[in-house]
Amino acid sequence: MASDRIFGLVVIAVALAFIASALAMQTSFLTDPVGSKTFPLIIGGVALLASFVVVLKPDADPVWPGVETFLRLGFALSVLIGYAYALKPMGFLIPTAIAAGVLSYQITPRRGPALLTGLGLSGGLYVLFKFGLGLGLVGLPKAIFG
């Protein structure tokens, strides 16, 4: 109940922002009968209507995980974000080993297998992508080799 109501309200807010942004859009001198605004306005309107329905007739709540699980999910999320930033400057091997190992540990918390998964995936996928499939991956940080 509550989850759907919150979701519906969030969608209403986003839809209103979308509509406002569409109305504020600059138009060009090149226009057609419909213009750049109309279709986004229709989308925003339909979303608004549908989210009112969700707010008024919410489904039963899903089973949300506990605080601890949410923290772990948040941690996994930040590891992925860090990985995205690290991939270019740090090369493929080191960030991949860390990210894969951490994810593995998050799924099943055992140190040994997680370490092996990280190292194995990093090395194995590098060989597969670089030599098997011929993708242009950079293995190690450029700084090491100058």
């Binding site: 979308f18 138009t27 750049s36 991939l87 998050q106 990093s122």
Partner: protein
Amino acid sequence: MELLSNLGLGFSVALTPLSLFLAVVGCFMGTIIGALPGLGPSNGVAILIPLSFSLGLDATSALVLLTSVYYGAMYGGRISSILLNIPGDEPALMTTLDGYPMAKAGRAGDALVLSGVASFVGGFFATIGLMVLAPLLARAAYFFGPSEYFALYLLAFTTLGGITSKNQAKALIAACIGLGIAMIGLDNTTGMPRFTFGNLHLMDGVDFLVAIVGLFAIAEVFFFIESHGLNSAIGVKVDKVTIPLRDIIKSGWTMARSTVIGFLAGVLPGAGASLGSFMAYAAEKSIAGPSGSFGKGDPRGIAAPEAGNNAAAAGALVPMLTLGVPGSGTTAVLLALLMTLNITPGPTLFADKPEVVWGLIASLFIANVVLLIMNVPMVKIFVKILSVPAWVLLPGVTMISFVGIYSLTGSYFDLLLMIAFGAAGYFLRKLEVPTVPIIMGILLGGHMEDSLRRSMVISGGDWTHLFNSSISIGLWVAAIGGLVAPLFLRRLVKRPVPHAMDLED
């Protein structure tokens, strides 16, 4: 005769050593992807698109590879249904109902072989149906102008929301999210930026591959972290694999009927394989009546959904190829593939690029035969692979997704966007908001708006032009009916759902 010569052209494309090799590789990978719980055809094909693209495969080869993966995943889904009582993907859900009881009764091998044969029958004959129906529909599609296309896109969204989801309002919201995302970037007609908030990365819009991989693959990782990767131990033993001829013969008619039902369900835009397997199972159950032991390991209860979902997989390609409107999540992903390869599906595809269409159809036949061989004598190999633990599998999937998207665009911004889609996908699926309409919205949003605007240019801004032909009126009626009818039908038809599953097909 024209059909045969076209098919000959197709086989001349598909029987080259490279294509055959790709078909075998694709079938093998697809079966594994389908068999692993949590990875279905949509996420399997989704993570492979960027890779096949950066490998530099030409259009036909990439299509052969990925449709083999698609068919393979449809076959593979049944393995975990039967052995783990967890569907590998949503269409394989119905197979758990009789597959797992049969396996528990010590007939796991028989169940695997029977379902493999049923998958073959469904897939093979439905591919013949595709071959016959698609060119006819492509011819009819020449009568489609912009206003008809607009109504058709609408139909795809409403049937997707109506038939396959539990809550129409949420499906509509999902479609709007997708369409809204499609609006980001430069406006095609006027060249003005829309919804970019001054961010240069957003000028080109949001790449649908980023969204697909995020919503399908990355979101799955969060689910596995939440569940601690439980539920992946094989509960039953596979002793020896024999061919249960009696069961196969006994379920012959079941397979035939289910193929027809599944194919028709697949052709409906927005319905897809899940509906096909569900309807086939329900029909067989009512035909068998009290004489059947459905739900307790009836062989027909395995043959029906498997023939049905594989037939639907082929059927779903009909609207995708001829009209450019996908019938399911996975065909939406295949549509994304075609668009990445600069192939515009639609009636002109059959005239302009016959080698692509017929090569694809020929490779579907080849894939079916390869899959029959892989899935009957070699089924034990896949049973072994099923025991890959989640704590290796999921990090692997994540890393492959990252490399795929990164090698496609080389931009960290797209990786961040992919992660954002993954996190959003987690919450949306928790709230039972379907993610397939989002993908369809991103894919079709631009086309839908273009057809609306073109139709208005033709009529000079007269909105009644949208209803000017009998085709478009029919499509509008069907679209509204597709959205409203399930509200009433839902009371009549109750889905027998053993698990709370919300994977896409």
